[in-house]
Amino acid sequence: MIYLCRYSPHLIDFCNYRITTQHPDNITKAMNCTNYDACPECDLLLNNSSPRLGEKAYCPRCGLLLSHPKKQSVERTFALSIAGFILFFPSLLLPMVGITVLGSANTGILLSGVIALFKESMWPVAIVVFLASILFPLVHLSLSLLISGHLYFNRPNRFLVHWMHWMQHLDEWVMLEVYMLGIIVACVKLMAIAPLQFGWGLYAFIALLIITTQLTAGLDKKLFWHHIALLQKGHNHGR
């Protein structure tokens, strides 16, 4: 026996615009896989239903948020990844926080914390900080730019599937918001001993943080995987 989701069980209808107009026969091809879905955390069998835009579908058994379709997820992701990519470089290169003690000043950028740890031969910690605050955010942004760009322009690419895998695995290891909290705590500690100056790097970093948060919140993975599958299928048929 199959449990129904709380929402009316439409069949797969979340490939709403671009692709449906171009390859109308692809919908039926995708549907023959299965009309069911399973909850990723409790394995409850569900009807593959898609809530309307802006609505949320929860698993009736364990309460997991199953899907929350957003308006124009591909376009939004594409635009936000471009903006994030542009903002990444000022936040990496411009000074973030400056401190003056007894007349001598010191400014820090995102990378200089890593270098300082390296110089103290704390290289395992330096590598972790470098990965979580610089490399992984950059790779994550590049991947979401590549994926959403290909989907936006309807370009099939055999690497799309791999890029999606990597992006999903990186999700948890992008720690910009934790780094921001680290900056706040460090500043509060330092403010007690010396005056601080805040630079453009910090403002760029805050903007980058807001954009990446918006990006991960608006990225509809289900829709992305579906688009990719349709693109690859259309590509294979064209050959």
């Binding site: 026996m1 199959i2 896989c33 299965t34 069911y36 879905d37 399973a38 909850c39 990723p40 955390e41 409790c42 394995d43 409850l44 069998l45 593959n48 009736p60 058994r61 364990c62 309460g63 926080v97 401190i99 003690v101 010191n106 820090g108 200089s112 914390g113 890593v114 300082a116 740890l117 103290e120 704390m122 395992p124 910690v125 330096a126 972790v128 900080v129 979580a132 605050s133 599937v161 999606m164 895998h165 999903q168 948890e172 290891w173 934790v178 780094y179 909290l181 680290g182 900056i183 706040i184 705590v185 460090a186 509060v188 500690k189 330092l190 993975k221 289900k222 995987w225 990719i228 599958a229």
Partner: protein
């Protein structure tokens, strides 16, 4: 009552979420080509291995100094707990509470929580699985926030580097970063569906 997808003959692709009938006997997902597993392979063993190693590293992380403040030649080493006590003493209560939660309460409760989840799944305790899944979600969500201390140290080490005053990272920083990462791996390898698989109430 409701039934598990696996018992109905379906396997969900871990990477792309496609549901595949077990009757097709395919080893990889037709959509994203990743290997298919009904449950995470060796979920409990891997999770336990990561958990055990983070337990061992948890001890040096708390005993050794996480950073040393060098003032005109005199070194003043701080442990994780010492840094929090100092924050409280200088009147910075909210920040002190924040660091207390992120670097002591969260790692400790994470170690205990993952151990409980492992025991529950291994001994097939009959529990309210929904509540235990919530516990799993909290553990998976809060894990990364413990990196706060490590990032803060990297900023302090970089900024406080004058001829008279210096901050130097201590050996506990390495151990603590390893604890955070290992517990994140442990949580990632734990499959919450194992909590539901043997619940008689849902069969």
């Amino acid at each position: 009552m409701a039934a598990n997808a696996l018992k109905q003959g379906f396997v969900r692709c871990h990477d792309c979420g496609l549901l595949i009938s077990t009757a097709e006997h395919s080893a990889s997902c037709p959509r994203c080509h990743s290997e298919l597993h009904a449950r995470r392979p060796q979920s409990l063993q891997r999770c336990a291995a990561f958990l055990a190693s983070s337990f061992f590293l948890y001890i040096p992380a708390n005993i050794f100094p996480i950073m040393t403040v060098n003032q005109f030649g005199a070194g003043d080493p701080h442990t994780i707990a010492g840094g929090i006590v100092e924050l409280f003493d200088s009147g910075m209560i909210p920040i002190g509470l924040l660091v207390l939660v992120a670097s002591i309460l969260v790692p400790t409760s994470k170690l205990v929580g993952i151990a409980l989840l492992l025991l529950c799944a291994h001994f097939r305790w009959q529990v309210n699985a929904r509540r235990w899944t919530t516990l799993y979600r909290i553990i998976a969500f809060v894990g990364r926030w413990s990196m706060l201390d490590i990032f803060m140290i990297s900023i302090l080490v970089d900024l406080v580097n004058f001829s008279g005053v210096q901050i130097i990272a201590g050996p506990a920083a390495t151990a603590f970063a390893a604890v955070v990462i290992l517990t994140m791996f442990a949580a990632e390898n734990f499959d919450p569906r194992l909590l539901w698989d043997h619940q008689k109430a849902y069969e």
